[in-house]
Amino acid sequence: MRKHILPILAILLLTALFLSACGAPATPEPTPVPPTKPPPTAVPPTATPKPVEPTAVPEPKGPPDLTGETITIYHFGDLSGPYAAITGPLIHGAEDAVKAINEAGGIYGAQLEVKFSDTGGSVDEAVAAYDRFTSEDDNVLIMIMYGSGEAEALAPRLVEDKIPGLSAGLSSQAFYGKESGYTFGLGPIYPDQIGYTMKYIVDNWTDLKPENAGDEVKLAYLSWPTAFGQGALTDESRAYLADLGVEIVAEETYDVSPAADTTMAILTAQAAGANVIWTNTLAFGPAVILNDLNSLGLRGDFVVAADNWAQDLSLYAFLADPAYGVGLITPFPYLWWTDTDHPGIQYAQRIFEANERPAAEHNVGYLLLVAGVDIAKTAFERAIDTVGYENLTGEAVYQALQELGEYQALGGVFRADYANGSRSPHESQIRMIKGGPDAFTVIQDWSQTPDLRPKN
């Protein structure tokens, strides 16, 4: 039998060569491109409130015809690690949005494509994927990423290689760290989120406060021990909370797992006199807290608030009883699927239905990436208008993103704010779960979040 190892190795080797031969060329399939000039996309994204003058357009000629060209969006996230529940729909959202744009004529006729790499939630994998992408393509125009850790680790590389990044991981270091500068956020940074929400809670304490609570708002920060989980507590947000009169009485961590046991964290928080819990996690984080609060019979003692990712349909996959979700408060920097009278939501809904995605993906990830791809598309168009397709580089897209300024993606589903050194939005709603799934009810309409960027 031992002699068989060589044939086995040989077969492995041949498979490898075969696969690399298959993988390498990546011939763009000739897609039937409508010969017409780009018709207006399904949702004409309304221009920015303050129109940015196109800076010195070389010569006023009509839009170029880029039929036959391909523009690639590089994309990496976690399909197999702890964040899989939320990134799966994110990826499908991006794919479907790109498909819809291509069907509507692409970008001046050029087809968009998405190249995806699974990082399993690991920073090392993200760096390896980054190396692979930049090795395959020496003119990467944009990258979309999700993890806070990944976004932080890649920020300096993006600056060096002059590639703009859109990140759904919203830790402040990724956008405003010393070596950052090319990373743009798909939501307000977590310190802004906690400040904004806690301000609301303090202002409305008489309505919100638990039965036995006093007049002081005492916060327990129960979260994951990861870059994401700890992302909301920075020097700036601590100072802001102190100014609000919010005392942080407990900082506990629990495992990044829907099977985590938060009993001890909750009881420690209770013993410390907390009456508000903030958790900075994906939806299964508040799910375990809400489950444990209920099974401990302590739900009535706390206001539970969390970051924007928590108020999502994926919450209901982990709640022992859907009713446990009621009362969760989070910032909500985008519209929701139930806002059916909004044309942007209608557009996303059409894409979702056209691709027959399962109901579980009808979540924030999908919606946000339809909006994210709209931002990328608009930035591409603006960059092409300014420098021409042949000069289209990551830097040009970066300039275009900045010129977009306070752009409202999909006509207002998401409100970017990329002007004047800001690289993350500063406007959000606050919603609270009232009643059954999807009843994400607005309790505070769009307004400015505090600006808690780190001061470097």
Partner: protein, 306 residues
């Protein structure tokens, strides 16, 4: 020390030791018969639990039937693993055998991810998530009696786990097969010479380990959900095994309870750094055991000759 939380955390720590003991039992079963320490036990647990989930949720079978089928399947899986991967390793050095179970663990983890995907799942509830048990203690803090709140699933998981361990211990004590297995664990060659079929005994112990792993996995998953990282939970059982003694079945209960208790006690500290150390307490205990009494509380001290 956070005195008001001490009674609570002592009790919930001890109760959490139940499932740890059950996971440790799976390891001891295999070690006792074949001197193999199975690093793939976590993946055995993972696959058994995923299978239960698939049968109960995917195929919508009643939960009890799903569990029965999954238990049978994991027994078969245990047998297969023993036959296909560890039988060929007989007589190989310790390193090769340790690595074989590690490699097996990686392989099964990849398989689970490929077959079931990486998303977290809601597992059918077996015990009510509401209505916790409340015990009023005689200890007074802030002029009120300290209350202990215990989640139902914590209590019942503990009961099931301890019952399982006692059942297996009884099997070893009172049945012929159990007796044969105990005999075989003393000396493989001697056992063979009096007519015990050593291969069959290895097979039985792996099958039992598979069953025990699945029971443990289902208990863990039903309390809050299932994801692929559940396989890592067995890592907290390794120290319990060493603490109890590698060959000792009663040892796993003691080991499991001590590990659980140690985690509960540090959680009652007022210093955050110490509270956070609950995560690594099993391994701190392990290092202490290794330095002071490597053979564990109930293990056998081995004498070596050249």
């Amino acid at each position: 020390m956070n005195w008001q939380l001490l009674p609570q955390f002592t009790i919930s720590g001890l109760l959490a030791g139940g499932p740890i003991a059950l996971m440790a039992l799976g390891l001891v079963l295999i070690f006792k018969s074949s001197y193999i320490f199975n690093f793939a036990q976590g993946q055995l647990l993972l696959l058994g639990t995923l299978l239960t989930w698939w049968l109960a949720v995917g195929l919508a079978l009643p939960l009890w039937l799903a569990i029965v089928i999954a238990l049978a399947a994991s027994a078969v899986l245990g047998l297969l693993i023993e036959r296909l991967t560890l039988r060929p390793m007989t007589g190989q050095p310790l390193l090769s055998i340790i690595l074989m179970t590690l490699a097996l663990g990686q392989f099964l983890q990849g398989m689970a991810l490929l077959l079931f995907g990486g998303t977290q799942r809601n597992f059918p509830q077996m015990f009510s998530a509401a209505n916790p048990y409340k015990i009023v203690t005689p200890f007074i803090y802030n002029e009120r009696n300290i209350q202990i709140i215990l989640k139902q699933n914590l209590v019942w998981s503990f009961v099931v786990a301890i019952l399982g361990v006692v059942l297996i211990a009884a099997f070893f004590r009172f049945t012929r097969t159990g007796l044969a297995m105990r005999g075989a664990s003393e000396d493989h060659e001697l056992a063979q010479s009096i007519g015990l079929r050593i291969n069959r005994i290895f097979g039985i112990s792996w099958a039992m380990a598979g069953v025990v792993a699945t029971v443990g996995g289902v208990l863990l998953a039903t309390s809050s959900g299932l994801d692929l990282n559940i396989s890592l939970l067995v890592l907290t059982a390794f120290p319990a095994v060493l603490l109890g003694g590698l060959e000792s079945i009663p040892g796993v209960i003691v080991g499991g309870l001590i590990i659980g208790l140690s985690q509960g006690l540090v959680s009652a500290s007022t210093v955050q750094f110490i509270r956070n150390s609950a995560e690594i307490m099993p391994y701190v205990v392990l290092m202490i055991v290794l330095l002071i009494r490597p053979e564990g509380l109930f293990g056998l001290k081995r004498i070596e000759r050249i």
